[in-house]
């Protein structure tokens, strides 16, 4: 097939200006497929041979899986954000447990508080004079001291017995 060099030059000019039709481009590809390409057109030969080779290739059935695999490999791993999602049953059990705990705590706090005391007018039970108050205070302290000493004496006696027993077994 003989090509008119001027015609090829016109086609090339149109090609690089984006003015060529598919038929024009096919003519250019045919031109650059020949073995002896004239020297002025040799710089364009590589490009048109590449286009011809690429168009000849078709997409095989394994193209899409390969592409996905490649994307998966190239895709950067996302930052690890772990959201703890408990099963609904566990969530309910946890909510009930917290509820029971809170109620128990409130109940125990209430129990520890003293019962609401009826206001007592203590002034009506006061002695009339400081001397009378002194006598009562003195008698009360005497009672406290008697029992305090009684307890201490008993405790000392028990301790002495334990010490005596300890000495016996030594």
């Amino acid at each position: 097939m003989v090509f008119d060099h001027q015609h090829i030059q016109n086609l090339l000019d149109n090609y690089f200006e984006g003015q060529t039709s598919i038929a024009d481009e096919q003519q250019l590809q045919q031109f650059f497929q020949q073995k002896n390409i004239p020297e002025p057109f040799q710089p364009y030969a590589g490009w048109f041979q590449f286009v011809t080779t690429e168009q000849a290739q078709s997409i095989g059935p394994d193209f899409l899986p390969q592409l996905r695999q490649q994307i998966a490999v190239e895709e950067k791993p996302r930052a690890a954000t772990k959201v703890l999602r408990l099963p609904p049953v566990i969530q309910r059990i946890a909510a009930i447990t917290i509820g029971i705990g809170l109620i128990t705590w409130l109940w125990s706090s209430e129990v520890q508080q003293p019962p609401t005391a009826k206001a007592i007018d203590w002034s009506q039970y006061e002695p009339d004079t400081p001397a009378e108050a002194m006598a009562i205070y003195q008698r009360t302290m005497m009672k406290v001291s008697v029992h305090l000493n009684q307890g201490v004496t008993k405790a000392s006696g028990k301790l002495q017995k334990i010490e005596d027993l300890g000495a016996y077994f030594k």
Binding site: P114, K118, Y125, Q138, T140, S145, Q150, G151
Partner: protein
């Protein structure tokens, strides 16, 4: 976020419980547990207020019937720190009243100091209520020939009471 809500609720409840606890610090055992005894005809009730205790210091020395001046000084030293003394006594069913009273006292509030059980069946119980490491109330409960309940309120020093007891029983 839910955890924050929970913690916020707990904080609010804790804050609410603080005034109640603070209020309960000033309540004596009789106001706390035995208001019904005060109105009961079987009981004799005596109250010496802090104001009366302050007046005891101005009494003549002759009014204080103690063997030594040291005893009198110790007695007045204790009185100086007392804010109130409440006394309940009853002649009937002393053992029953003792058991009932003892069961009402919360051991989470009052710490037993001494328990004396005599062969004749009489019982004495000494308890203290502390706030911030200081004894704020001394409670004495007795059930033998008569039932008695003594509640000393104020800044109490057991050493002073013990010293007085030793001196008085010499």
């Amino acid at each position: 976020m839910r955890l924050l809500h929970f913690l916020f609720t707990v904080c609010i409840l804790s804050c609410l419980s603080v005034p109640l606890t603070a209020q309960s610090d000033n309540i004596n055992a009789i106001d706390r547990y035995f208001t019904k005894y005060v109105d009961d005809e079987r009981f004799s009730v005596v109250y010496i207020s802090g104001r009366l205790f302050n007046m005891l210091g101005s009494l003549d020395k002759e009014t204080v019937h103690l063997d030594t001046q040291e005893d009198a000084d110790a007695l007045m030293r204790i009185a100086k720190n007392l804010e109130g003394l409440r006394i309940l006594t009853a002649d009937q069913d002393a053992q029953g009243l003792y058991a009932e009273a003892k069961s009402k006292i919360e051991l989470s509030v009052y710490e037993p100091l001494m328990t004396i059980r005599n062969k004749d069946g009489s019982n004495i119980e000494l308890l203290v209520r502390e706030t911030k490491g200081k004894i704020k109330e001394l409670l004495m409960l007795g059930g033998g020939e008569e039932f008695f309940l003594l509640s000393f309120i104020g800044d109490l020093d057991l050493t002073d009471i013990s010293d007085l007891a030793n001196d008085m029983n010499k």
